[in-house]
Homo-oligomer: 102 residues x 2
DNA sequence: TATATTAATCGTATATTTACGATATAAAAT
DNA sequence: ATTTTATATCGTAAATATACGATTAATATA
């Protein structure tokens, strides 16, 4: 894109659009739902119930970690993931508010 | 991506993630807000208040038209855009519902 | 009719995303 | 100590997104 111009927009717009981007893939929405249902989940379990390779799932998990809506905790050789509900609610709240009365 | 695997997920997830993608750029969020405030807006006006070129704005408008949340009407040499509020509410409703109780 | 205006589209460059095999690392099991 | 298991990361290929100048097409105006 030669040079992104996203930074020319307000912090609010950047924040909401970054969140929207983080949930703009069905695999990531699926992972969020899974973690909401199971409360927490081992990485291997996520890979098992997903039609994607381990490397690709790991990449999606990284995206969700980056925006902060999931948290990963290492348990021996395994990785246990859970939602950061506070963070998730923060972002969904912002998004919902933005679209209120539209 | 060699071959996208999005189609392997449910229709619901694809629909919500497609909507999320359509609002995953600050310029597009900005255009939505603008149309909500002004009710309708000539393309040239949108270009004027946006830090992007005419071609780029036109491209973003195309994205929003594609998902269906805005409608364009040709008026002589100008193009007049407005929100499709019903469609927008449809998508925001789906998204909000998906994130309810998470 | 000739010129100006508006906005969509084309062509193109670069960045980012998506996908996965291979590898690395660290812990667990043998 | 060796092997197995789990997962993050690297490298890479292909697709898609972002950005814009140039062009096109259509209408409006001089």
């Amino acid at each position: 894109m030669v040079r992104s111009k996203k930074h020319k927009f307000s912090k609010e717009l950047i924040e909401i659009s970054d969140f929207a981007k983080s949930i703009s893939h069905p695999a990531r929405l699926y992972i969020i739902k899974l973690l909401a249902e199971r409360n927490e989940c081992i990485c291997g379990e996520i890979v098992k119930v997903t039609p994607l390779s381990q490397a690709t799932v790991s990449q999606h998990l990284k995206e969700l970690r980056k925006i902060g809506i999931i948290i990963g905790r290492i348990e021996g050789v395994k990785s246990c993931y859970c939602l950061d509900k506070k963070k998730l609610n923060y972002y969904t709240g912002k998004l919902i508010k933005y679209f209120k009365n539209k």
